[in-house]
Amino acid sequence: MKKTLLSAIIGTAAIGLGATAASAATLDDVKAKGFVQCGVNTGLAGFAAPDSAGNWTGFDVDYCRAIAAAIFADPTKVKFTPTTAKERFPALQSGEVDVLARNTTWTLNRDTALGLDFRPINYYDGQGFMVRKSLNVASALELSGAAVCVQAGTTTELNLADYFKANNLQYNPVVFEKLEEVNAAYDAGRCDVYTTDASGLYSLRLTLKNPDEHMILPEIISKEPLGPAVRQGDDQWFDVVSWTHFALIQAEEFGITQANVDEIKASTTNPDVKRFLGAEADSKLGTDLGLSNDWAYNIIKALGNYGEVFDRNIGEGSPLKIQRGLNALWTKGGIQYAPPVR
């Protein structure tokens, strides 16, 4: 306690001056102010990046919009806060953002010591390596002596150290704080290897001067379960964020899409689907969440199901063309699974 006081007096920065203190009832705060404040990446094509008109688009961005749709039946009631890897946790802890949807890996340390809560995993990722084809490297195990570009303060940076140590390889880390700086340095040839989550590598390769000159090595050296994070100790808000993801998954499982959701809602006789879309009389599922009964309908109507969100931003319908892989539904060989909505 004494140490806290001392550091508090000295460190007037960061949390101290944040007058908008982390409140216990985030859902009430969000409803009162009329929008969701969402922490996203500063610019990672496919996940969160502003388009040419200045609108934020991407996989993580759609999660922010889905949460807004669930609460307000309007996916535009969301404001975005771009955060670097370093800024993201203080931004969430201090209450500057309500939810962090920023391709953030769920780890024990972050779940506990950092005071965050993770539950749904919206993207199962793993760390990979990208190199220039001209180096003639076929495996990450041949990388001894290489200079490796990496972003500061990420799990990637830690996995990198562990992997090279475990395999007794030498390397020279070249560490930058901002993603754009890492990209620029790699593109300028400051380092031989670029390492981050495999999804990130696919996205970043597109922004290089000559994407075809680069290849991604086959090794995946870590588990990177990515998902939205909220502050610890606010179970209601945690539930809203979690069930937004589960609704997206459940909709895909039911085969409900943005295009057919109205038709299905009007015509279905399946009690499961009726309950899910809020068409069942006297259902209290939505109100128990603190939302309206047609919350799931609102999400699907605004954004489509998980498969549509995936395809549009990072899958076959996007320049990234990432395969579903582990992120396919559990019924289709993947591990995306939602608890029953009942």
Partner: protein, 397 residues
């Protein structure tokens, strides 16, 4: 509160005299200032503690002894991912000090040359120095750093096409690789010889001064000093059989391996800070020299001193008294500006601290460490420069 209660029974005549009493007024306003200050600090501390508790984050400085788990590219001391966060911060601090000290030395040299050059009677030299000062003084330091960094990366070749320089040195966009000296047995004798040489040179200089004061005869003490400082270690080195070998850089699969490397991050930060700060130092030097009255120069000339000696013996010593105080500010600025290293990935205190902040989530503690370290560095620099200033101050005789 106390003031009001004691004043309550006093009559209005006394009240008025109290209001106009300068002593009372001064105490009153000081008390209000202190109250306000305490209230603000209390509010900040209270708010921080409450928010920390509510955000369920760990706090305290225990994390400093945990395993860091990340690697650092540039380190002056032994460091691996198994070392502690505390040691990682030490690596960052040493990198900050390295760039600050080398930067201050270089900036001072360039600054003095350019500052004196601006006063030169040679039109070309004076104009060149003016252009230098105006260019660097009017560009933000971050842009100067980017200029050097992207310049270095863009111009220099890839490692496989390294430029070969004399003495087995190589230059590429990963930095300047040069042979690393490996000191053999008995090399410490050379260091001892160097130390003896320096001490001897100091004695010779003192003796020469005393002799000149006594007899007026001059002694080439500069050349004698150089001979002592360089010659003594060189002779020792040869006498004990040259115990020095080199580890040469050789081409590896990706980079040059072996030898020592000055990375482009350090090089660009060092160059940028030196050139940027030198522009300000040049102006301070010019102001200092112009601040010495013209009569001093004329009197020295009348005594028959040559122009070079007038500058060295009469003008500069007096100008130093004007130069040193603002020079201290520039040294502090350079040290603090070194935190811009984060933009180009040089592992200084702020960059390393930022990584630790993110891995541990202990923002307040890391920010507190940053502030304490920079404050200490600044205070130490100030103390040293104040001591130097006192030494150079005018001694009344």
């Amino acid at each position: 509160m106390a003031i009001q209660s004691t004043n309550a029974p006093v009559s209005s005549w006394n009240m008025r005299s109290l209001i106009y009493d300068p002593k009372f007024r001064s105490y009153f306003f000081q008390a209000i200032t202190i109250l306000l200050l305490v209230a603000i600090v209390w509010w900040i501390a209270d708010n921080t503690i409450e928010n920390l508790q509510r955000s369920n984050t760990a706090s305290g400085f225990q994390f400093l002894s945990s395993r860091a788990g990340f690697d650092i590219g540039q380190s002056l001391i032994g460091y691996s991912s198994d070392a502690t966060y505390g040691r990682a911060l030490l690596v960052g601090l040493l990198n900050t000090l390295l760039v600050a000290v080398t930067g201050i030395i270089t900036a001072t040299i360039i600054g003095f040359v350019v500052g004196i050059g601006r006063l030169s009677h040679n039109w070309l030299i004076a104009k060149l120095c003016t252009v230098y000062v105006e260019v660097f003084r009017n560009i933000p330091p971050l842009l100067v750093i980017f200029f050097w960094y992207s310049g270095v990366l863009a111009v220099l070749p890839q490692p496989r096409e390294s430029l070969a320089l004399p003495f087995s040195m190589f230059l590429n966009n990963r930095g300047l690789a040069f042979p690393k000296p490996i000191f053999g047995d008995g090399f410490w004798l050379v260091s001892v010889a160097l130390l003896i040489g320096i001490v001897a040179a100091m004695f010779v200089t003192r003796w020469a001064h005393q002799r000149q004061d006594r007899t007026g005869q001059q002694f080439p003490s500069i050349w004698a000093s150089i001979a002592l400082i360089l010659g003594l270690p060189a002779l020792t080195f040869l006498a004990i059989g040259s115990p020095l070998t080199f580890d040469y850089p050789v081409a590896g699969r990706f980079n040059l391996t072996g030898g020592s490397v000055i990375g482009p991050e350090f090089a660009s930060l060092y160059l940028a800070l030196s050139f940027y700060t030198a522009a300000f130092i040049a102006e301070i030097v010019r102001a200092g020299i112009l601040g010495v009255s013209k009569g001093q120069t004329e009197a020295s000339a009348a005594l028959g001193l040559k122009p070079a000696k007038i500058t060295r013996l009469v003008v500069v010593p007096q100008a130093m008294r004007i130069i040193i105080p603002p020079l201290t500010s520039q040294y502090l600025n350079l040290t603090k500006n070194s935190s811009l290293a984060i933009a180009i990935g040089f592992a200084d205190l702020v960059a390393v601290g930022g990584t630790i902040l993110n891995q541990t989530g202990q923002a307040i503690e890391v920010v507190a460490i940053w502030m304490i370290v920079y404050l200490s560095l600044s205070i130490l620099t100030s103390i040293f420069m104040n001591w130097f200033n006192a030494r150079m101050a005018l001694v009344e005789r």
